[in-house]
Symmetry: D2
């Protein structure tokens, strides 16, 4: 396990402790994958790539350059899923309404005032006709949405989860996807966060308990072995 994204953040004795408890086995990929692209909107990356502290001047919710780097990886998955005809699903945050008060407004008030431009999808990985749009109001793509119904209708058994943030909506969706018994793949370079430490530790947590964490290239390779006809 010498080349994991969380090396240097999680000490070796803690990695050993998880292994001793038997965590981290691979779930593998099934035969009916769907791609989730979560919250890849201008509000999370800015309208153009800029360093974090520059980017948040445009949108306080932006993660900056790391988001654009992830977008480049997500493009590979989008190309593969479009070619195979597999479902691509866009859980996204809709503009806030005046009745959207609640805990989110209390904990992170800045989220309530994002400009309309911020809600647009980032063009290289934006939805096309036939993709599934899934507005959501809470972190997990499953919470308060009909996502499971879309997955059941299509017989999905595997979720590839991309977008942002690693420690927020990605993780929330991964935990729920796992609980519903979907096999979950998280390409670590196709998810992003405003804290690199939190990003790495969340990937460690998800790999230990809920998902198979790998690079986008490894995910594309694993998915290329899925028989589209199955």
């Amino acid at each position: 396990m010498s080349e994991n994204i969380w090396d240097g953040v999680i000490p070796q004795d803690e990695v050993d402790a998880y292994e001793a408890a038997g965590f981290g086995r691979a779930s593998g990929v099934g035969s009916k994958p769907a791609l989730l692209i979560i919250d890849v909107q201008y509000r999370t990356v800015g309208t153009e790539p800029k360093p974090f502290w520059e980017s948040i001047k445009e949108f306080p919710t932006s993660c900056g350059e790391v988001g654009w780097q992830a977008v480049a990886q997500i493009e590979k998955l989008v190309a593969q899923f479009r070619e195979k005809g597999w479902p691509i699903i866009y859980p996204y945050v809709a503009p806030k309404e005046n009745f959207d008060t609640g805990r989110l407004a209390a904990k992170v008030p800045a989220l309530m005032g994002v400009a309309a431009k911020g809600y647009e999808f980032v063009p290289p990985v934006a939805p096309q006709p036939g993709d599934i749009l899934l507005p959501k109001r809470h972190p997990s793509a499953f919470f308060g949405t009909p996502l499971v119904s879309y997955l059941v209708e299509r017989g999905i058994d595997t979720l590839v989860v991309t977008g942002c943030t690693t420690s927020g909506c990605v993780r929330g969706s991964v935990v729920d996807g796992f609980a519903y018994n979907y096999r979950v793949v998280v390409p670590h370079d196709a998810v992003y966060d405003r804290s690199l430490t939190s990003h790495k530790v969340n990937l460690f947590d998800m790999n230990a308990k809920y998902a198979d964490v790998m690079s986008t290239d490894e995910a594309v390779s694993a998915l290329s072995k899925v028989d589209a006809a199955s």
Copy 2:
């Protein structure tokens, strides 16, 4: 913010990045609290306090001594909730049945073979008649359980979440509790994990986005101001 549990793990510039994005405001305590004691069973702490590497010889799922230290903190909250007559809820893992296959068995096979003794509640904070027992099969106390129905019946608006693991069932429950619009308090010394780093980073994440993280003593103090009659 000079004395947070995650100091030294999350670098200051990342803490600053979260603050710049406006994360981490306090939600506060409401008027109808409930206490969640998650998975405080022998299988997560051992039948007696021992160092981690000793404890996992008894149960591979044990977190060892840190669990017993948290139990001592949870006792304070149990005393307060019993005195006030506020609900105490025990989400817990029931012994596995032969039909409990699925993603959990695939990711963490060691969880499937825990001895019966491991499922007993830890005596100092064990349930008493009138407490709510909530068997669960997935990380979040809300997933696949009637927890919300119990909360609605009792008019609960605030959840105090304790037990283990910080990065697993505690976090999953906190994210869902937040999404349901409950005010969530996480006493950082009343939750525990087998990785100290993951414990700290998950507390950072939860404080930034989903919950008010404080010490048990601070939580007891804040709760003492709640008017039980309201």
Copy 3:
């Protein structure tokens, strides 16, 4: 029980059978009500009151005149809730997208081709700023929506359910509201259906097991005793 809406449809011996089993006790009204107005859009009543067989020429999903009669009753509740400042929630069907296939499209294909005008709210009881809009894709207002989160945030303990159809989205929402432990009131003249028999039997079922069924005037009277300050 001599003046129930289901008299003449459910035979007396069956009413007796339910009573013998102890069904049908009143739940009562709590202290924090919310009003649900379900699917009161032109597509369910037509743009003007017409007999059923005329009305379905405009929208095959219309219930016709009975819908307009219910609208007149709902107006009374809307007036009361606006005066008291209690929440009014509009679960409604959004126009179908091309990814909305699934069981609904299979069972009731006519639902997929309703004209845009049909999705407009019926003016006398249409939403105003501050009301909660809740798009849904399935019968129950709770299914795949964040309705519970809105109710928790507002401390709601009682739901008054109106709209249509009695045997469809009203009943589905009532069963779920009951399961979440909300007290549920169904004003029988403020809900409507395209089958009078099914309307009556569903009211019988709901009254026996899930809700307090009464007239709108009785509901307004019961609600007038709620202390808005509580």
Copy 4:
């Protein structure tokens, strides 16, 4: 439509009204069925077949002889599912705990005092090792249970719903199964209720909107064409 179970209860013009609106198309059977046997415990049929008014002396919740007639039909499905190796799932009511207050206790207090014997499964269709036991506290087998996780793990696309009551837990489960996009089959002689009228009208409702209603023999025949290998 001259031989439907609801003939004589739903007037012809109301049947016509539903047909005019385009309701009632068949969903069909998929390739991965699961059988739900809901609440077939002594408390719903009595320990031996007796007329309704005799049977409720043993358990006030009994439906009497109609329950035993349905059990004989369910046996055919159990035999088929066991032979094919398809999943059989038992959503059932567990004995009440002292914390199980709530709306159910308010609406139907008699349900709270059933003797232990009443919770035993009816022998001819009782669970065997490997079957899935699903304790529930609310009408729908999906509500507050991990049922969807079991279905996703097994790739299920079709539910055959049996047991009781037609107007209660059967209907609640059917509506949710439909909303999750499962194909749903309800064998009308394998479900039962204490009101024959409500039984028939609920079958009409379910056939119009949520499920394919047919006899058990027809269901067995339709299922015999499913390729077990798919």
